[in-house]
Symmetry: C2
Subunit: 342 residues, 2 copies
């Protein structure tokens, strides 16, 4: 490059406007009157001015870019909820002037290393965490290094350590799973009082939370079955249980479990048995299975609200720093199947 | 900031290594011996050296970041293929030292405006296009402005204008849909010679291509049904056709169509009728429906290969500049359903 790069000042002089107006045309063109905008854009074209985000970034040390990990596709039915969340985040970040940079990572430590590099390079300046778990080192690291972040998923922790759930240093947004299974169970009680719960083995925060909603709606204990999140295992479990118990309906912790339960009921000659899933995936939609919809679009909105607040100094402490999104139950006209083997 | 920012040279001096070694620790730490790496990292920490990607970017005008549009979730069964592609791209871009920035856009023109701004700001330096269509202005714009890009999806164009398919200025990767339905039809011919095709209305490049594979495998015309990509419409169409035609198997242009065909066959008392879908979605997997797997991970690999080649001056012309990925047929042990209405 031989000649000096044109600056904002050059553009302003050429167009006969203030520097602020040039800045507005570049950053918020919708607030500039059309003739003025046209004049500034003409000056930009004539001078060959290129606004450099990289230069601005160096000056402000703010990239306004959110980093988020995107895991390899693992197959299965439920992964779609996280994909819907990323889609919604992308869609809603753009009009807020935020960008989304996605990265891969092998595990939590690898993700920390990745975040550290992206941040040091000014590539990202805030983070959305997914797949949080107890004792997650990512949250501690981000808090310690002053990186604004919001987690999709609350820290479950040990019973009695609930204090951290309101910790403004660890903001999170989550779906109120218990509210979802509560609604599902109230709906299922219309079929009779023996509403079973098909969940995962105890110990996962999310699974235990969904089970709690069912128990609260029942007002006590009931038929509680547990299996891995597999259609085949769910089907085998429910076939076995239906042979020995009277069951009026089954509330499930996922759509994969619900599909297994639905196939088992059909196979046992009870295609009309009400089964309620969780996640409202295309599978539930295609087969007419009722399911709890997590509303990932609402989760994305809340995450961005907290992330923007967090990134502006002074806002910290203005809380609340966690949001529970209320899911909705989607009830469908049921299709009845009975599987036959030829 | 009062003091001068420490440089790579300061770090090298402090650690007693060469500048190259410092650079290696920053960029390819895996090739540096552990004790040396520890010494350099210690020096970095002591001096508070922050390698600035933004500074490097200003110098090289290369962000090594790929822009890709991510559309809002539209529901349905088949969107998962594009999500798998984005996951795979993220996963494979990271080890190649490339980053992925996702953005939203309302339409092709809006996407061009978005790309222009991100590029002017040094945010992205290459693009992956999805959802290309005939006369797509995005490809023309990118080619004209010298932005390296690769499209997932070939330009179908008018018959006889196939020349542009080999145009090195418009590189693309696509899945050989015709090869997929050809394999599906050969498999289906094991059930009898009356293999029907259930596709979309004529005129979509992708749909016509999938139909072609079926016709080629049949060696001529056959039963050809068409409907929108809806489970309910597919089901109604196939129920109607089964009532008046002898049909040995149905090859479908999507899993949504296959699910509809499967439900129709079951309802018509033919739960054993072989149906083959396309996309190998979780729905097909869960219900045991055979389906053509597009291998989006292979598509991502090919896209990155072309994108990297394209971005390095001198490689242009070394072609081939388009890649057709061969899909595979996934055959499953079938589940037989017959829907019952109480």
């Amino acid at each position: 490059m031989t000649a000096r790069q044109p600056t904002v000042e050059d553009v302003a002089r050429r167009a006969g406007v203030s520097r602020q107006t040039v800045s507005n045309v570049l950053n918020t063109p919708e607030i500039v009157r059309a003739p003025t905008r046209a004049r500034v854009e003409e000056a930009i074209a004539e001078l060959g001015y290129a606004p450099s985000m990289a230069a601005r970034r160096l000056r402000t040390r703010r990239s306004e870019t959110i980093g988020i990990r995107l895991d390899p596709y693992a197959g299965g039915i439920s992964g779609i909820v996280l994909d819907r969340f990323v889609h919604a985040l992308t869609d809603q970040a753009t009009p807020r002037g935020l960008r989304l940079l996605v990265y891969a990572a092998d595990d939590a430590d690898d993700e920390i290393a990745r975040i550290r590099r992206l941040r040091e390079g000014g590539e990202i300046d805030r983070v959305v965490l997914t797949g949080t778990f107890e004792g997650d080192p990512r949250e501690a690291w981000l808090a310690e290094h002053g990186v604004p972040f919001v987690a999709f998923g609350r820290p479950w922790g040990e019973p009695g350590t609930g204090a951290q759930m309101g910790d403004p240093a660890r903001p999170w947004v989550d779906v109120d799973g218990a509210a979802g299974t509560r609604a599902a169970t109230f709906h299922a009680l219309g079929e009779g009082d023996r509403v079973a719960f098909l969940g995962w083995p105890a110990g996962s925060g999310t699974g235990d939370d969904r089970e709690r909603g069912w128990r609260e709606a029942l007002g006590g204990e009931g038929l509680r079955w547990s299996t891995l999140d597999s259609v085949a295992e769910a089907r085998a479990t429910v076939e076995r249980e239906l042979a020995r118990e009277r069951v009026d309906a089954v509330v499930c912790a996922s759509d994969a479990l619900a599909l297994g339960a639905h196939l088992a009921a059909s196979h046992a000659g009870r295609p009309e048995l009400l089964v309620v899933g969780f996640d409202n995936t295309p599978v539930a939609e295609a087969l007419g299975i009722a399911s709890v919809e997590q509303r990932p679009e609402r989760v994305a909105e809340a995450v961005l609200d907290l992330l923007v607040a967090d990134a502006s100094a002074g806002d910290v402490g203005a809380g609340p720093w966690h949001r529970l999104i209320e899911p909705v139950l989607v009830v469908r006209e049921r299709e009845y199947f009975s599987p036959q083997r030829p």
